[in-house]
Amino acid sequence: MEVLSNLQLGFAEVFTGYNFFFVIMGAFFGTWIGMLPGIGPATGIALLLPFTYDMDTTSALIMLGGIYFGAMYGGAISSVLINTPGDASAVMTAIDGNPLARKGRAGAALFICASASFVGGMLGLIGLTLMAVPLTEFALLFGPAEYFMMMVFAIVATSTLIEGSPAKGILSGVFGLMISTIGIDLQSSSARFTFGQPDLMDGINLLVVIIGLFCISEAFINIERFTTKTDQAPMPVGKLWITKAEWLRSRWALIRGAGIGFIVGLFPGAGGAVATAFAYAMEKRISPHPEEFGKGAIEGIAAPESANNASVSGALIPMLTLGIPGSASTAIMLGALMIYGIEPGPQLFQEHPKLVWGLISSLFVGNFVLLILNIPLIGLWVRLLKIPTEILTVIILLLALTGSYALQNSLADVGLVLVFGVLGYAMRKNDFPTVPMLLGVILGSMLEQSLRQALMLSVNDWTIFFTRPLCAGLLGLSVLCIFGPTIIAKLRRSVVGDPKV
């Protein structure tokens, strides 16, 4: 019953003032952004964040949530029509979506994408609604030591579970933590790495890091893309319907995809890309027609799309209940909360129930809005896909530069955005993930504060991190994240034999 009254509070918030309008705006712009090749949900949220600066916090968060969900829907459109996924989590949809479109059934592929996104999104949201309160109550039992270990685990897990080398991930995360040490130390009032610059006394603005790392670097990557041009014209859409046989084949794939997406989304760093890959692989393994996968199998579209949208709700759980983001987009949303002056963590549900339940309810509403928007507006999305990359890139660059100036009307922020943009580009070119760095910047000061509080309470007794059961468990998981992949690889080599031999 408590859940229902919470949702009632949330729905009342969604239909208050302009909030419903922001849900529609978020869903619309999110779909558009997600659809454009090279702009994923994280970049989209980062680009539009400066616009929410003067908005009411609940409205702003509702709009960002709409963009996040919409971008997940949108990613599938470019995957199906031009075989160019909007972001990593839409890659699996392209494997079967585009071949189906090549058979003249782009409409059917888009229809199953929209349906799968809706089912995945709804099931994920139900999971989020049911799990949020119990998890928050559990999280309220955490002391500073548990919080410290939880943050260490989040950074380590994000650094090592994300694609690529774990060492590069950890370097990225630690670099983010190093950036968070810039500014006045709140406990001792000592200036750290400010070099006498007044602009650095308050530390580096989080939004500057977000815009630089995600928007400017994305623009540079886009520039590379159009210098080696491989633009493809969108395919004709055709009929927006699937046959009864196809529906029967895909219905369980939708449910399985949602379950996988939701569970994978809960883990920091795993995100939509892992969830969709996992759902696709599982569906192919259990399918009675595995030979059809890669040639336009309907389950091959349904499962990853459902997993993709369910992972959004999964990733929102640690962000809302613990203040620990599970993906790049939730990291940016968490950053946004901090920029609006709201302290994330388990108290969020108690101190700002309207905000949290407003966001959750807006996602339910947004999911319906997206279903209604997606199918009739498919012709519009196809036209928007034809916007040239050059125009898109210059708009991203100008929006990022102007948006960073608008934060505090400061040119220093513009300069810093460029520095982080070039850094982000260099990192991406060298396969360094940028998400752990952002997480380090976001959690850095909280991590240091928790460490100090934990040691103060234990009178400088470091064993507190080993003797408390939850701390020890989280420490064990962190160590496993670092050394687990190497140990597994060595074990596999010893069992199967060295492939090089």
Partner: protein
């Protein structure tokens, strides 16, 4: 097309070596953080020193593994072409121009030049087409930021 051979061949090592330099510089400045007279165990230097050391260790580890990886396989990373490097470097340079010029010649003029030069360099179309698009895009930005959001954008006129 010519490839940027040296960077493509050694980009991993260069990046890892830069990490070591960053860690050393960070550690040096961590030692120079002023510590108050009365301080508990975790003073303002503790976190930076710990992070600097972790960063140093992982940078060295990365450098060693990059060298080993290269030694083990002769396969090279897909080389970047000169056009790609030129375009990205040109755009970065243009962005730096934007940052430096906006204070002196104002948002409107800087943005017009920025968008126009960007479109010309990216060979989007003829001069007139690029100019029309530049004016259109900047006009929309002016409308959004100055009129709708009320941001006091820098102007040439006081």
């Amino acid at each position: 097309m010519r490839s940027v051979g040296f960077y493509a061949r050694f980009s991993g090592e260069i990046f890892a070596a830069s990490g070591i330099v960053i860690a050393v510089v960070y550690l040096y400045f961590s030692f120079s953080i002023k510590v108050p007279l009365v301080v508990d165990f975790l003073g303002p230097r503790f976190m930076p020193l710990t992070l600097g050391l972790i960063f140093l260790v992982f940078s060295i580890h990365l450098l060693v593994s990059e060298v080993r990886r290269k030694a083990a396989s002769a396969k090279l990373v897909v080389p970047m072409t000169f056009r790609t490097v030129y375009s990205v470097a040109g755009s970065a340079g243009l962005s730096v121009f934007y940052f430096l010029a906006i204070e002196h010649i104002g948002y409107l003029l800087t943005s017009l030049v920025f968008v126009f030069v960007f479109l010309v360099l990216s060979q989007y179309g003829g001069i007139v087409k690029c100019a029309i698009y530049a004016v259109g895009i900047v006009a929309i930005f002016q409308l959004i930021f100055r009129l709708l959001l009320g941001v006091p954008l820098p102007t040439i006129f006081v």
